[in-house]
Symmetry: C2
Subunit: 109 residues, 2 copies
């Protein structure tokens, strides 16, 4: 398991935090995986970090606001967001962020 | 479990992603909890979201860059970061981000 390697800033991050319902976890997992695969095909997609414990946090990285908007308007992504509201989420927050600085560190480097 | 309520943007987010070693998980957990308690006392601290699965993602929210810099220079926080490099982390990335837009949704609201 490794972290995303993003280019030198500036670039954009979309921070998506969520609380799940208890309903249809399997369907949710499949849809989440499918969305990652679709996002990876988008122009301007730079990578994604995701973890879920009591809450879920998914951070996707993008070249610019235009690439984020295109992903938002992707037809399959739009359909899945509706399903998210009707079935999978109790609450969520999306934050659109300009990444100004980045510092990385690795053991034995 | 609920998500952080942040003020209307703009404000700042610090996205900290990490991969842990297998060493001293208990010490890590205690230090992580202590750091959240300390950060909450800092002026300009707006909240924190955290989750760990294969990787850890912690997003803290701050009023401005000055409040982030003060927290970075906190003596206990600085000591814990050294311990993180020597014991707890295989790799980490810190991203300093300007939150430009935020959208929240809750069930039954």
């Amino acid at each position: 398991m490794s972290l995303v390697n993003t280019p030198k800033p500036p670039y954009y991050a979309v921070i998506f935090t969520s609380v799940q319902t208890d309903f249809d976890r399997e369907g949710y997992g499949k849809a989440a995986q499918k969305m990652i695969e679709l996002a990876e095909k988008e122009e301007g997609f730079l990578g994604i970090d995701t973890a879920r414990e009591e809450i879920g946090i998914t951070v996707s990285y993008w070249k610019n606001l235009d690439s984020i908007l295109k992903w938002k308007n992707n037809i399959e992504h739009t359909a899945v967001r509706k399903k998210g509201k009707s079935s999978w989420y109790k609450a969520y927050t999306t934050r659109i962020c300009l990444v100004e600085k980045e510092y990385s560190w690795k053991l034995n480097q």
